[in-house]
Structures are given as structure tokens and as C-alpha cells.
């Protein structure tokens, strides 16, 4: 069961987003937040749900969303687990994501200026003049053979699928790969928590995404004191308890 808010966010049409920044920015701005680690942590779950909903789109396209998702999960994990030590590389990934998102936000705002002016009060060049044609002036380069060659060359230069949507990626990674890596990364740093039960059950990509999202949600709820997490010994299962008389257990997304 999902909360009402989460449900609404989930319904944002992911297909409408051309790239990861457009999606992420809409989530941040949708909550009227500024771009910083706090707001990014807040929208991480929604972002991941959207990425998961991308499903069977072009792998290269999905991959660029995943690269951003990986950084978001680090931000989220850090916000929930202040003791989590990030490497220099991870820190700079986070800073770079914030800055690139701010830059993207700037240009989408400026795009509003372009939209406001474009086609409104235009400047016109002189219309073609009819009396321009004075004489017939051919050129020796115009022959039957040269015309054939030029036409063939022009056709040969056209890309096969000109407007096929494609997303820039530096390296293609799959969502499974990302989730496996992150699960390992986060659980390793939390040697107090065993995550076996969660990750062991997950087989398909969808299930693994659910695991990550649920895990993050669990940590969030822990921080908010809504549930109580205990663990008897290292490598044993995490025991999640709900405070008596409270139904919040039912509200953990994905469980």
C-alpha cells in the first residue's frame, strides 16, 4: 500500500521526460524545493519508481536514468545514515549532480524566455522578389552525370533513423547491476543490519527495485521513529517492529 502522495507522484508520466534531469527537476520543483542534498534525498524514492516504470525502453536510454539513480541513492543513504562514509569519488558525484541539475534548471528557465519571444514580434527579411530573375545563367558543373551524383550523395548522407530518440550515455549499466552494487555498498557499511532476507527474495529487476525502495523507506521510517528496527546479532535478520496499536507497518511502500 502506498500513501496518497506517493501514489500521485508515481503517476507522473515518465514517458514525458526526455532525460534524467528533466524527471529529477520536475520532482524537486513539484515539491517547491531548492536543489540540494536534502531535497534530492526526499525525491529519491519517487525517482526510482519512475525509472523502474521505464521498463523496456531502449537500454541506453534507461541507463542514463540509472546513473543518476545511483547517485541519488547515495545521497539518500547518507541522509538516513549519517555514519555512512562516502569516498571522494562518491562525494564529487553528488556535488556534480547538484550542479548539473542547477545548470539544467537555469536553461529550462531561460527556455521560458525563448518561448515567450519566439514567433511573437518577428523581424521579416524581404519577401522573395519576383523580378529577381534577369537572365538564364547556367553553370558548366550542371550535367546529367553530376546531377545524378549529387542526388545520390545527398540521399546517402541521411542517417537511417533520423529522429529515433536516444540518450547520451558514457557507459551502459543495467538497473540490476546498479541495484546489486548499491545493495552491497550500503549493507556493507551497515554491519549492524542484515539485509539477506530482503535481497534473497528478489529475483527479477522489479523485485530488486522494490527491495531498494523498501529498504530506503524502512530507514526513513526508522529515522522518523515510526518503526523500530532491532537486530540481535550481526548477519541475522533485521527485526522490524511497529509500535503497539499503530498500523504504520502496512504503509511501508512495496512491502
Amino acid at each position: 500500500m502506498e500513501t496518497e502522495t506517493a501514489h500521485n507522484h508515481y503517476n507522473v508520466k515518465t514517458a514525458a521526460f526526455q532525460g534524467p534531469f528533466a524527471l529529477l527537476l520536475s520532482l524537486v520543483e513539484g515539491r517547491k524545493l531548492f536543489i540540494n542534498d536534502v531535497s534530492l534525498a526526499e525525491v529519491t524514492e519517487d525517482y526510482i519508481k519512475h525509472v523502474n516504470a521505464l521498463g523496456e525502453r531502449d537500454p541506453a536510454e534507461v541507463s542514463s536514468f540509472i546513473v543518476v539513480a545511483a547517485t541519488l541513492i547515495l545521497i539518500k543513504s547518507k541522509s538516513l545514515l549519517p555514519n555512512l562514509d562516502l569516498t571522494d569519488g562518491e562525494e564529487s558525484d553528488i556535488v556534480a549532480l547538484e550542479e548539473r541539475l542547477r545548470q539544467y534548471q537555469l536553461y529550462t528557465r531561460l527556455a521560458g524566455n525563448v518561448k515567450a519571444l519566439f514567433g511573437k514580434n518577428m523581424i521579416f527579411a524581404p519577401e522573395g522578389r519576383k523580378n529577381d530573375v534577369l537572365v538564364f545563367l547556367p553553370d558548366e558543373a550542371i550535367t546529367k552525370e553530376s546531377m545524378m551524383t549529387f542526388a545520390r550523395d545527398a540521399l546517402g548522407r541521411i542517417p537511417k533513423k533520423v529522429f529515433l530518440s536516444e540518450v547520451e550515455v558514457k557507459k551502459v549499466i543495467s538497473i540490476d547491476e546498479m541495484i546489486d552494487k548499491l545493495t552491497e555498498r550500503i549493507t556493507n557499511s551497515l554491519n549492524k543490519i542484515n539485509f539477506k532476507e530482503f535481497s534473497g527474495r528478489a529475483v527479477s529487476r522489479e523485485e530488486k527495485v522494490v527491495v531498494i525502495v523498501s529498504f530506503l523507506a524502512m530507514l526513513e521510517l526508522t529515522r522518523q521513529g515510526i518503526i523500530h528496527v532491532t537486530q540481535e546479532n550481526n548477519f541475522e535478520d533485521i527485526i522490524m517492529e511497529k509500535p503497539s496499536g499503530d498500523e504504520s507497518w502496512d504503509h511501508i511502500p512495496g512491502l
Binding site: D132, V133, L137, P138, M147, F150, A151, F163
Partner: protein, 187 residues
Amino acid sequence: MNLESKIEALLFWKGEPMPLKKLGEILKVSPGELIEAIASLKQNLAERGIVLIEKEDDITLGTNPEISSMIEELQKEELNKDLSKASLETLSIILYKNGASRADIDNIRGVNSSFTLRALSVRGLVERRLDEADQRRYVYKPSMELLAYMGIASLDELPEYGDINASIEATAKDLEEQLKAPDGSNA
């Protein structure tokens, strides 16, 4: 914007003589107001590079006669220049497509062809006409003189005409559809 400037803008845009009556209708002013504004425009343009030329009931803008020899020289130079590769390519598409709209040509070439088409028109190699199928756009056709110069009576005498024509038609259609497709909302 005052009436005088509006007249100047319209004449500049039109680039050829306009009847006073027509100007009065477009600008919704009386003949008296129009004549007064034209007189003032003429005076203001007197010492400039662009001058107002009146001929019976028509007016137009032109270049100051003092510079006409320089412009004639440039015109000659421009017309005697070899055609650019862009012009030859554009011409080949117009020939093998048996007339093409600017949008078709632009789509196939991947760049805007308006200046190239103008250069071809000026030299009498192609003719611009309103598209009979769609009056809001122009089609460019090879001129009769061009066919005669190339020594062909009709386009199908061009080498491999059938093959290349079919391929251009298919490509033009394909490109147009891709532009319309949801993912091609890139435009």
C-alpha cells in the same frame, strides 16, 4: 510606430512596387494621410542608402543611384560566380524529385536551403510557384531553360531517374513521418 515607418517597413518587406491604393487599404488610412506620410518618408530618405521611388500610382524602395555602379558590379560578380556545392546538390534534388517544397529539400539536406534556393531562382535555374495542393507553401520546379541546357526533353531522361526518384520520394516521406512521430517531437 508612426505611419511613415509602417510604410517603410511594408515597402522594404515587399521589395517591389506597391500601388498606393493597396497601401492605403492595408494601413487603413485615407489617401491624404498616406500622401503626407510618403512625402515625409521621401524627405527623410533623401540622403540615405535606401531611397523612395515613385512611379505613377506605385511606390517602392530602391538603392540610392549614387551607388548603382558599385551594385551593378557586384551583381555581375555574383552571377558569374561558380555555383556552390550546396546549390548543385539542391538543384539535383529538385530535378530528381521533379519539383520539391522547401521543407522537403531542407529535410533531405539536413540544413536550411532558403538562400541556396534564392541563388538558383536568380539564375533562372528553378522556378518558384505556389503549391497547387497546399497554397500556403511553395514548390520549386526545374526551369524549361535548365532542361534544354542539360539536353533533355523530360526529367525521365536523367540517368537512373526512376530509381533515384523513388528513393527520394520514399526518403522525403519517411523524414516527414519521423518528424511527426511522438519521439520526433524534437523539432
